[in-house]
Subunit: 134 residues, 2 copies
């Protein structure tokens, strides 16, 4: 069921500074920032060849990463996202296995325009897992 | 400089339970556990096609992930590892850019038998970054 790693998301308090660190200090290819107001974040993609790193900064009120940054003011690793071929089949398998899907259990359209689900970190040893329809 | 994502490391308090969750609940391919006493961990690799997830459980006294699990008893995302072509050139560039290399600044032989360095998480917005010679 679990497909490739789509991205690793890192929450950062200062996207411009983080982008500069990845571009200049680590020598990575980075995109221009994209504001995603409907998702409450501004994102920069770091292209590492086989997958991507997403640097996320809160945007607007009620950002989904605001509480994380309150607890981790310097930033930190926020979630990992895996691709699945069939997100509804994956959801049904997960629920039957006892894993908790966050929200109402139905896929939402994620930041890449595809259906996504988030799984409860307590069911995956403290890691927030996102699944995205491939 | 920054090459592909070699792995994402997740620290877990119970490797058998975490392996079962990735294999059975998420439907991923997992390896048998490997004890790496010289690195203070037992590891299971989760193959996600384009990269790998490493599930790490402390092994023996003074495990490098023991303090992390004391702070995060359920487990959590521990570090990301990127490949570099020339780890000494990378180290020199990083130090010249003001980034702090952990330890004495010299590469050590990592869990895959290749030279590795760890960078101070405060220089990378709360994320512990490992670099591994490709």
């Amino acid at each position: 069921m679990l497909g490739r790693l789509n991205h690793v998301a890192l929450a950062v308090p200062d996207l411009a500074a983080a982008t500069a660190a990845y571009r200049d200090t680590l020598g990575a290819r980075v995109t221009a920032p994209q504001a995603l107001p409907e998702h409450g974040v501004t994102v920069v993609f770091v292209d590492v060849g086989n997958t991507k790193i997403e640097l996320l900064e809160p945007l607007g009120e009620g950002s989904p990463i605001a509480a994380f940054l309150e607890k981790n003011p310097s930033g930190g690793m926020h979630h990992v996202c895996y691709e699945v071929d069939d997100i509804l089949a994956a959801r049904d398998h997960l629920k039957a296995s006892g894993a908790r899907v966050l929200g109402d259990g139905n896929p939402k359209i994620g930041a890449h325009g595809k259906p996504v689900l988030f799984l409860h970190p307590k069911d995956f040893f403290g890691t927030l897992v996102e699944l995205e329809q491939a």
